[in-house]
């Protein structure tokens, strides 16, 4: 039983940008919900529209050439249509964001402490600078920055990448947000640091009860943190479900491809790491019907029609996918030996 009202409900979100070459439909009818204390992972390749979707929630994609449709209800407010002045009060306050590249996401010319204080004071007007600095120290300690009291006077270039990302997380937490959006928070970091940052996020969720949206291209990253997963491809959601549903009973061939390309230490080292053939389609002129059909070895005539995002599994009404294949066919096609993956050759479907 889901609670009556989710923290965030995104409904049929569409984002397009007018460019010199034509209109780019970056997000094409995306819907999902996030509950308090839940980690929702949005997974997809570069250009799948995952970052644009979450940045739109913050109003960060607004511009003269951008068009928006749909709704994103948060605390009784529609984030898609809210005026900038209203969004500004939500940003960094009820909704905070951690970005991909901690090396460039902090302003190089200000001290770490001042940058955190700036965010605190942007939303709490009564708080003194000293109080805000104290809170900044607490926040930095909480996300595991050693000697926070001293380091607060450092500049970003005096920090390592991992430490900078901790600072970004501390900053995001500074006003106790109800929703934390982390856009590829570990992509730019070393593997060991990645695990630490994911630990921080996991701990946060249990301590604060905030909802978290984790955007990533790496299904491996979400395996031990996400509750639910949304898989995006070329601006559309192609599959969504719980972690177990996506990992153990994936319905969409694109998801199989993503699962097949996770690096695994139990795989024979002489094997090549499987990759999904081809490139994501241009969003200026995506293929008709299923956007994945041009890269899908299992595509057939029907794929020129757009499959709806619905549950095709009677036992899992919340597990949605956009694929015309029969469930039984999917379950056999995705099996490559003892692992799930996307076949590379042509496959004829009887």
């Amino acid at each position: 039983m889901a609670p009556a009202e989710p923290l965030l409900r995104v409904e049929d979100l569409r984002v397009s940008f007018a460019t010199e070459e034509g209109v780019v439909q970056a997000v094409d009818g995306v819907s999902f919900t996030v509950d308090p204390g839940e980690v929702l992972a949005i997974v997809g390749e570069s250009g799948s529209g995952k970052s644009v979707s979450v940045m739109t929630l913050m109003g960060l994609t607004r511009g003269p050439n951008a068009r928006f449709d749909g709704h994103a209800m948060f605390g009784g407010r529609d984030l898609v249509s809210a005026p900038d002045s209203e969004l500004q009060k939500v940003r960094g306050n009820q909704i905070a964001m951690v970005f991909q590249d901690p090396m460039s996401s902090l302003d190089p010319v200000y001290r770490i402490g001042d940058q955190i204080v700036e965010q605190i004071r942007a939303h709490e007007h009564g708080i003194s600078k000293a109080q805000a600095l104290d809170r900044a120290v607490d926040l930095m300690e909480r996300v595991g920055v050693p000697r926070a009291r001293e380091r607060i006077r450092s500049y970003p270039h005096e920090f390592s990448g991992g430490m900078r990302q901790r600072v970004m997380i501390a900053m995001a937490l500074s006003n106790s947000p109800q929703l934390l959006i982390a856009d590829e928070p570990t992509t730019a970091l070393d593997v060991t640091i990645q695990a630490q940052i994911l630990d921080e996020l996991r701990q946060l969720r249990s301590e604060t009860g905030a909802g978290i949206i984790l955007v990533t291209h790496d299904l491996g990253v979400v395996a031990d943190i996400a509750d639910r997963i949304v898989v995006m491809y070329a601006g559309r959601v192609v599959e969504q479900g719980t972690l177990d549903e996506i990992f153990y009973d994936p319905q969409h061939p694109y998801t199989w491809g993503l699962l097949g390309s996770i690096t695994r230490i139990d795989r024979d080292r002489s094997e090549r790491l499987p990759a999904i053939p081809g490139l994501p389609p241009s969003l200026l002129a995506p293929p008709s019907g299923c956007h994945f059909r041009t890269r899908c070895p299992h595509a057939f005539e029907r794929c020129t029609e757009v499959p709806e995002l619905i549950s095709r599994l009677p036992e899992a009404p919340e597990h949605l996918d956009r694929c015309w294949l029969e469930v039984e066919a999917k379950r056999s096609l995705r099996q490559l030996g003892d692992q799930i993956g996307l076949a590379t050759g042509e496959t004829v479907i009887s």
């Binding site: 913050m58 109003g59 960060l60 003269p64 900038d84 500004q88 009060k89 939500v90 940003r91 960094g92 306050n93 905070a96 964001m97 970005f99 590249d101 460039s104 996401s105 902090l106 302003d107 190089p108 010319v109 200000y110 700036e118 965010q119 942007a122 939303h123 500049y155 270039h157 970004m168 900053m171």
Partner: protein, 316 residues
């Protein structure tokens, strides 16, 4: 910091040496540059010229001439060939006018350049941006002698709002000082305002795409706070380096056209007169003065960089 200053002092010495040697050599090789012939005048015969050449030491080896001139410059006794006046005294007389011109214009062109740069960047692509862009290009394309002549004719001669030229010291009459300088300030500034606003506009537009600016917005800062705290401070470095160089040139007598058009009797006008006469000593001293200011302002600019951006260290 101490190391930085010491290194820059050595740089000043090096630059002054190279500049002075080059300037000195240039006047040895340019045609019609024989100072003895000029001092002797049109009707001097060969014997007179030889006599002059001997008295002034033009018949000595070139490095002796150079050393002698440099000795005179640093002991303050160097005289101009054409008028026989003390060069340093002439420069000292012209310096108040040149300083007044440089400081007033430097403030005006920096302030207006930054202001226009910010406005055009914020309104990029809209009408006000385009209109100001056209104005900036017109400004960049207008030489000071042309603008100055227009100002003197229309504002001075026709409308009688400003004086027709000349310089009045501040100590004599602050009001007169101001009214004699306002037109030169603006005329000299127009070109720089055009350049600075274009440079700042493009730097701001680049900086606006930086990740940390997106972070600033995501923190809930207003557009204005984002612009002034994060974008502008990170966009100022190119404009500040330009300002340092340009200001140094003007203060070293580089505003030759403006000073001459408005008859300010500053260092720049002295330079113009000396160049017409191919008069080496004043040209040499003014060139060295300009070079000195360029190196000095370069050091100041570097210190300002380090204040603006903590990643920059002063190393000389």
């Amino acid at each position: 910091m101490a190391r930085f200053i010491v290194r820059r002092l050595f740089a000043v010495i090096g630059v002054l040496f190279v500049i002075s040697v080059l300037t000195f050599l240039i006047f040895q090789v340019i045609p019609n540059g024989d100072p003895a012939a000029r001092i002797g005048g049109q009707h001097a015969n060969a014997a007179t010229i030889a006599q002059i050449r001997h008295t002034w030491g033009f018949d000595r080896p070139i490095y002796i001439q150079y050393l002698k001139t440099m000795g005179q410059i640093f002991s303050g006794t160097v005289v101009s060939y054409s008028q026989g006046v003390n060069v340093l005294a002439s420069i000292r007389r012209g310096l108040p006018a040149t300083l007044s011109l440089a400081i007033g214009a430097g403030i005006i062109w920096f302030t207006l350049g930054v202001l226009l740069g910010v406005i055009t960047a914020v309104r990029a692509g809209r009408f006000s941006d385009r209109a100001l862009t056209v104005l900036a290009f017109i400004g960049v394309s207008c030489p000071p002698f042309f603008l100055g002549a227009l100002a003197i004719y229309y504002l001075g001669y026709k409308a009688n709002i400003i004086p027709l030229g000349g310089y009045v010291p501040f100590t004599t009459s602050p009001g007169q000082w101001f009214s004699h300088l306002i037109a030169p300030w603006l005329v000299l500034s127009v070109l720089f305002i055009g350049i600075y606003s274009r440079v700042l506009r493009s730097t701001i537009l680049d900086t606006q795409h930086e990740d940390f600016v997106r972070t600033a917005r995501a923190k809930g800062l207003s557009e204005r706070q984002t612009l002034f705290r994060h974008v502008l401070r990170n966009s100022m470095i190119p404009v500040i380096s330009l300002w340092g160089l340009d200001f140094a040139q003007v203060i070293g007598g580089g505003a030759i056209l403006t000073e001459t058009v408005f008859n300010l009797h500053g260092v720049g006008q002295f330079a113009a007169d000396s160049i017409q006469m191919l008069d080496v000593p004043p040209i040499l001293v003014i060139t060295m003065l300009t070079a000195f200011f360029v190196v000095l302002l370069g050091a100041v600019v570097d210190i300002v960089y380090a204040l603006l951006d903590p990643r920059i260290r002063l190393s000389g």
